[in-house]
């Protein structure tokens, strides 16, 4: 068998322990140094809400928050986040299932169809709104232009981020925080 010895003396096929706090819960696993964060989350921790659409950093489907800032988990090695905090799509809705304001806004505005790109958009939007609590429409369009969606034509997505921005600004909640139980009614209908 060939070996890929590195300067640190760690072989690419050896396993090393990685400990991260994911959605507030400490998680550990033994992973190869080459293991992508996206695979670590999806297949080792079985948090399959984070999706993989390209694996080369272009589509944004794999976006997660690393210490509060959006990163592409397909371009990140799991070992490189040892000791850090991650928020994934699973960490936004309330424990009772109530949707996060960004999630609710996506539903209200028909911002998803197949739902494959959706976790990436929702997490990206949370990161974006934390940075830009009072965005104008052009900033929202730019802010969401790092993610690809093949279904929606983006109309509903942009409308959703607008609504979420207004709502979060009104409540003053940090968009990256898990929603509290009872804060939003899940499955609420809107009139249109």
């Amino acid at each position: 068998m060939t070996t890929n010895a590195t300067a640190t003396g760690i072989d690419a096929h050896d396993r090393v322990e990685v400990t991260v706090t994911v959605n507030g819960v400490p998680r550990s696993s033994q992973v190869q140094p080459r293991r992508l964060l996206s695979d670590f989350l999806r297949h080792d921790l079985r948090l399959t809400g984070t999706h993989v659409g390209c694996e080369h950093g272009v589509c944004g489907a794999c976006t997660v928050l690393l210490d509060g800032a959006p990163v592409r988990s397909c371009l990140t090695f799991a070992v490189s986040v040892d000791g850090h905090e991650l928020t994934t799509i699973e960490g936004l809705a309330a424990a009772d299932g109530g949707l996060h304001p960004v999630q609710q806004a996506f539903r209200d505005h028909h911002g998803l169809q197949c739902g494959f790109c959706t976790p990436g958009f929702v997490v990206s939007a949370c990161g974006f709104l934390a940075e830009h609590p009072d965005p104008d429409d052009e900033q929202i369009r730019e802010g969401m232009a790092g993610n690809l969606c093949r279904c929606t034509g983006y109309t509903g997505i942009l409308g959703a981020v607008r609504q979420a921005a207004d709502e979060l600004r009104a409540t003053g909640d940090d968009p990256r925080q898990r929603t509290r139980d009872g804060a939003t009614a899940s499955g609420e209908e809107v009139s249109s």
Partner: protein
């Protein structure tokens, strides 16, 4: 009873789960499955001299490697030609693994199975395939030169030649006051769903049963194909299409090599096996569409009325032709659009090239047909110096002429007959929506500032809801839940919501009580698939018919129990109640319980259906003749021919005079898909379609070099529109219900993409004065054409 659910823009029931990250896509399943990597051809055309496994077998975690020679006899047969046609005389399909020759980059050569994908790729990398490269045939015109054959035994590279004619087109053109002839091209593109292909198989050795999850638009047919290749009874195979991350046509292709190989290997190894395609693989080994070259001859009168139209085109179907002639037949017929053509001749050659095979991508031949017809009308208008909307109006079929039978054969082998529509009505709505008449002033004002503005429009008619059939099953459970299922699968179209609306409307129950399952052969084994904008038309009507049967049965049972004539009863608020006296009623879940005569009172509710509680007539059987236990029904919808939706798009663009960059300003859509089940979902389909139309017009192309290497096989180089590239879209609906089905629905799935290239080409032409006869067009191409035009004037 509350207001009608049909036509209500209710929020989707799919959403909360998907938004919380609780979707179940194929790769979300089977964490302990072995994973596969496929060794794919790096050559467009080559003979395989030798496959050397080298040190692949040493890789940690490797389970097994398979090449063609390792396959059992049945798996050595070529994959099926799914849709045969009498004119398809030289059809070739691929093997699950190449049999000595590869015909496009990305063709599967060997299969590696390992403990995970990392190990599988490690091993795949070490496998050495010795190829003897052959010259590649790239592009439809090269194919027709016939100096090099894709398949040795098809020297001219032509799989099929088909001609259809109504009237006498050539004579009509010869006699016309005006004649034009020109060429129009559309390049290759692809569906490119955000979720790639994937298949996961579980073989249960104890039960001798196979469960297959596949990201497919045709689970029932995948099941049948897998059963056939693996020599299993249908009863041993179940296929489930779980959440699917978009399809747009590419996932109607089946069975993919991996859909056969993965279940076969799972049974061989007695272990779960999964294939998840990566993005680069998707670019080269999942199918493409669109590439066609058209030669047009048209004759017309002083008003711009088309007297004769003759179109000859070449369809590039790539290395194999598994889906038959569907795409070019659709172009041939749907090209006509909303116009009354009485002398029309169309011929095509469907040719082999050493590129990825072609099967339908949303629109399926219609964007090309629409481009040809609409560019033709624009040429006529330019030639006569008339307004483009006037020339269109002069050619429209009038509402009173519908239904109209053209005398052509459509993609389903049935009559090409428009059932409904109001084309002049649509045009006047469109002109208003985009302010067509005010454009000249906007253009002049912009020109005064040195800006280039242009406007274009395009109209289409879309045959939707093709047969042969779909079915629906509706069951009211004793707990009051309503279980609905249909066989076709969903890729984001909101079927769960729309079908629930249809069933809830018929049964007078709360939407939240209806649970819809699609694409699961365990629940509904008979189906055709999700394509041709057919799901709402076909399954929607089937579910409506099944729900109607359930309603009738509920009325019969309640009528007996309440001793009230069924005619005087209605279903509302989850009850069967007496019209005009809603206090006399019986809950629907009680009716469901009563519908199933019981011996055992397994719970309190069940007591009412047991033999001593409800003895009935002691001289009649407890289940009456012609009845069956349970408040449920199955029904099917099978139309005689397709129903035709239609619409028109108009777009305003601004071209940067220095860089030739095209920016889209206004984009207006008028759309007639008959009765709207859920306008919000229909609008979503339109928005998404328009984005794909914009991509197809300005950004997306499969850039092959002359060696058949795809130069842009990643999202970095294949430019799919982001939010910054897609315009705001104004939509207006026209509802002319289809007379062909009970709900009056016409399909809506593909419409948004069809006229994009045609309308945007027209707008660019209007802005720049440069004739646009090929799409897509990049700023550098447009710039070169503008420089050319400037130097020749």
């Amino acid at each position: 009873m509350t207001t009608s659910l049909l036509g209500a823009p209710v929020a989707r029931s799919e959403d909360p789960r998907l938004l919380r990250g609780e979707g179940r896509f194929v790769d979300d399943l089977g964490h302990d499955a072995f994973e596969v990597a496929v060794v794919r051809s790096p050559h467009a055309h080559a003979r395989i001299v030798d496959i050397d496994l080298g040190d692949a077998l040493e890789v940690d975690g490797l389970i097994s490697v398979y090449t063609f020679d390792d396959l059992p006899e049945r798996l050595r047969e070529p994959l099926p030609l799914l849709i045969p046609h009498p004119s398809l005389t030289a059809g070739r399909t691929q093997h699950v693994l190449a049999d000595g020759e590869v015909n496009h980059v990305g063709e599967a050569v060997a299969l590696v199975v390992a403990e995970d994908r990392y190990a599988a790729e490690d091993a795949a990398e070490r496998i050495m395939v010795d190829y003897d490269p052959l010259p590649a045939v790239v592009g439809p015109e090269r194919a027709l030169q016939a100096d090099q054959a894709v398949h040795d035994d098809i020297a001219d590279n032509v799989a099929a030649h088909l001609e259809q004619e109504i009237g006498d087109a050539r004579a009509a053109i010869a006699d016309a006051a005006h004649r034009l002839s020109f060429r129009l091209d559309i390049e290759r593109s692809a569906s490119t769903p955000m979720e790639t292909r994937g298949t996961y198989a579980r073989w249960d050795a104890d039960d001798q049963r196979l469960r297959l999850y596949s990201s497919t638009q045709a689970p029932t047919s995948v099941r049948a194909a897998v059963a056939a290749y693996l020599g299993l009874d249908l009863a041993q195979v179940e296929c489930i299409a779980p959440d699917i991350g978009g399809g747009f046509g590419v996932k109607i292709m089946h069975p993919w090599p991996e859909e056969i190989l993965v279940p076969w290997v799972a049974r061989e190894l007695g272990h779960d096996v999964k294939f998840t395609e990566d993005r680069r693989e998707h670019f080269v080994s999942a199918n493409h569409e669109r590439a066609q070259v058209h030669q047009v001859e048209v004759g017309f009168d002083d008003e711009g009325r088309v007297l004769g139209l003759d179109v000859e085109f070449v369809h590039d179907h790539g290395a194999y032709i598994p889906y038959g002639l569907i795409v070019p037949i659709i172009t041939s017929t749907q090209l006509i659009g909303p116009y009354k053509l009485e002398n029309y001749r169309v011929t095509f050659d469907s040719v082999y090239t050493n590129t990825t095979p072609v099967t339908p991508y949303r629109g399926a031949g219609r964007p090309q047909g629409c481009f040809v017809m609409e560019r033709t009308i624009d040429r006529i208008a330019a030639h006569l110096g008339r307004d483009r909307t006037e020339v269109r109006a002069a050619n429209f079929l009038q509402p009173e002429e519908l239904p109209y039978d053209f005398g052509l054969v459509f993609q389903d082998g049935r009559a090409y007959r428009y059932d409904s529509g109001d084309f002049p009505g649509s045009l006047s709505k469109l002109k208003e929506l985009i302010d067509w008449d005010g454009f000249a002033a906007r253009k002049a004002a912009a020109a005064a500032e040195g800006r280039l503005l242009g406007i274009g429009l395009a109209a289409y008619v879309e045959g939707t809801g093709v047969g042969p059939y779909e079915g629906g099953h509706v069951l009211v459970e004793p707990n009051g839940s309503v279980q609905v299922s249909t066989g076709l699968s969903s890729q984001g179209q909101g079927h769960q919501t729309a079908f629930a609306q249809i069933a809830a409307e018929e049964l007078g129950v709360d939407l939240a009580d209806v649970k819809v399952v699609t694409g699961d052969t365990r629940r509904f084994p008979y189906a055709v698939g999700t394509f041709a904008s057919r799901a709402a038309v076909m399954s929607g009507n089937a579910i409506h018919l099944a729900a109607r049967k359930v309603r009738e049965k509920a009325l019969r049972i309640a009528s007996e129990a309440l001793e009230v004539d069924a005619e005087d009863l209605e279903l509302a608020d989850g009850k069967v109640r007496v019209k005009g006296s809603p206090d006399t009623s019986i809950d629907l879940n009680v009716v469901a319980t009563m519908s199933n005569p019981l011996r055992y009172a397994f719970d309190e509710a069940a007591r009412i259906a047991t033999q001593f509680t409800q003895p009935g007539d002691p001289n009649a059987p407890p289940v009456a003749e012609g009845e069956a236990p349970g408040l449920e029904a199955t029904d099917y919808y099978s139309p005689i021919h397709s129903t035709f939706a239609n619409g028109m798009h108009a777009v305003e663009v601004e071209v940067d005079p220095d860089t030739s960059d095209v920016r889209i300003g206004r984009y207006a859509v008028v759309h007639d898909c008959g009765t709207l089940v859920n306008p919000r979902i229909v609008e979503g389909q339109i928005f998404g379609g328009v984005a794909q139309g914009v991509g197809g017009a300005l950004y997306e192309r499969m850039a092959y070099d002359e060696h058949g290497q795809l130069q842009n096989a990643s999202f970095m180089d294949f430019l799919m529109p982001y939010a910054t590239e897609v315009p705001r879209v104004d939509v207006d609906h026209l509802e002319t219900p289809s007379p062909l089905n009970p709900l009056g629905i016409k399909g809506a799935g593909e419409a948004g993409v069809i006229p994009g290239a045609a309308a945007i080409a027209a707008a660019i032409e209007d802005a720049t004065g440069v004739v646009i006869d090929a799409m897509p067009i990049s700023p550098s191409q447009l710039h070169a054409r503008r420089l050319d035009a400037a130097s020749t004037t």
